[in-house]
């Protein structure tokens, strides 16, 4: 009698385990690495200008009282080209956008901006991915909402699609406080 009860428990435990595996396997794979810096201030950095027609970028530029979108991109990154129309739309709606170009050459960047447009007020040149390590960014493109005090409020991982534009504008308004 006691033996039967034991084996029943084992069976229940096994079924629960199978259930857990089935649940986890049926979920879509999520390999996004979220930044742990959301809610914290952008650490100190200062980058030189990536192209001649725009100034470089430092953390002080992000704490000038107005909220910004901080776009991490590169001319060699294909999804960065795909999100260009959405960045242009955000700029038209009044979003101040600054950018960090990761491991890029000025001439490649010039060609990229010529072709896809330049919605950026500032572009810092980061040849060692340092700013990415500072703010917990794990790839390109990524877009951060930074409030007027330089605190990171939101991280958007991957390209900005048309349906993400209203959300980013809302996050920006939220950051205005």
């Amino acid at each position: 009698m006691k033996g039967v009860r034991w084996s029943l428990w084992v069976l229940v435990a096994f079924a629960a385990l199978v259930g857990l595996f089935a649940l986890q396997l049926s979920r879509p794979k999520n390999d996004e690495v979220k930044s742990a810096m959301v809610g914290q201030a952008v650490p100190q950095f200062a980058l030189g200008a990536a192209v001649s027609e725009r100034p470089g970028l430092s953390n002080a530029d992000l704490a000038d009282g107005t909220p910004h979108l901080l776009n991490i991109f590169a001319s060699w990154c294909v999804p960065c080209a795909a999100e260009a129309p959405q960045l242009a739309a955000l700029e038209r709606q009044g979003a101040p956008i600054v950018a960090v170009a990761i491991r890029d050459r000025s001439e490649d960047l010039e060609a990229f901006l010529q072709r896809y447009g330049n919605p950026f007020a500032r572009i810092g040149k980061d040849d060692l991915s340092r700013v990415q390590f500072l703010i917990g960014s794990s790839g390109v493109p990524e877009t951060f909402v930074v409030d007027g005090k330089g605190i990171i409020r939101h991280q958007h991982i991957g390209e900005i699609r048309a349906e993400d534009v209203p959300e980013l504008m809302a996050r920006l308004r939220e950051a205005r406080g």
Binding site: D31, V33, S35, A36, M37, A74, W76, L128, S129, F133
Partner: protein, 133 residues
């Protein structure tokens, strides 16, 4: 016949090259001090590559892994401890970046369950054999 092909190959550049900048100074160069390099290497083997994810940054040729190796080696050379660097990275990317497991509010069952199972096993063995002896 083979010459034109060889010539073409000589000027060919990889079509999938992600970017054209040379790697970071310490991405592929070891530190001059072997003791510091050993420290850096041990740390890099337990840091996860962010863009490839199943490899450590010591294993990966991704440009971001190279930049992180540069960051780690530069910090080690400046006298920072590996534990401090790991902590700094966890503060940016969460536990995900580290292959070295640590006890936290979400991971404690991983450490507790084996201990509980061992105690349960010990109790069963005692009940089965302890009485007869």
């Amino acid at each position: 016949m083979r010459w034109p092909l060889a010539l073409l190959l000589a000027f060919a550049s990889p079509a999938v090259a992600q970017e054209s900048l040379p790697p970071a100074p310490y991405a592929y160069r070891q530190l001059d001090d072997p003791a510091l390099e050993a420290k850096a290497q041990a740390l890099m083997e337990t840091l996860r590559c962010l863009t490839c994810q199943s490899q450590s940054i010591a294993d990966s040729d991704a440009s971001m892994a190279g930049d992180l190796r540069n960051e780690v080696r530069t910090r080690i050379a400046a006298g920072e401890s590996p534990a401090h660097i790991r902590q700094w990275l966890i503060g940016r990317y969460g536990d995900y970046i580290s292959y070295k497991p640590r006890v936290s509010s979400t991971t404690w069952p991983l450490f507790a369950i084996p201990l509980v199972l061992f105690l349960v096993g010990a109790a069963i063995v005692r009940r089965r054999f302890g009485r007869r002896a």
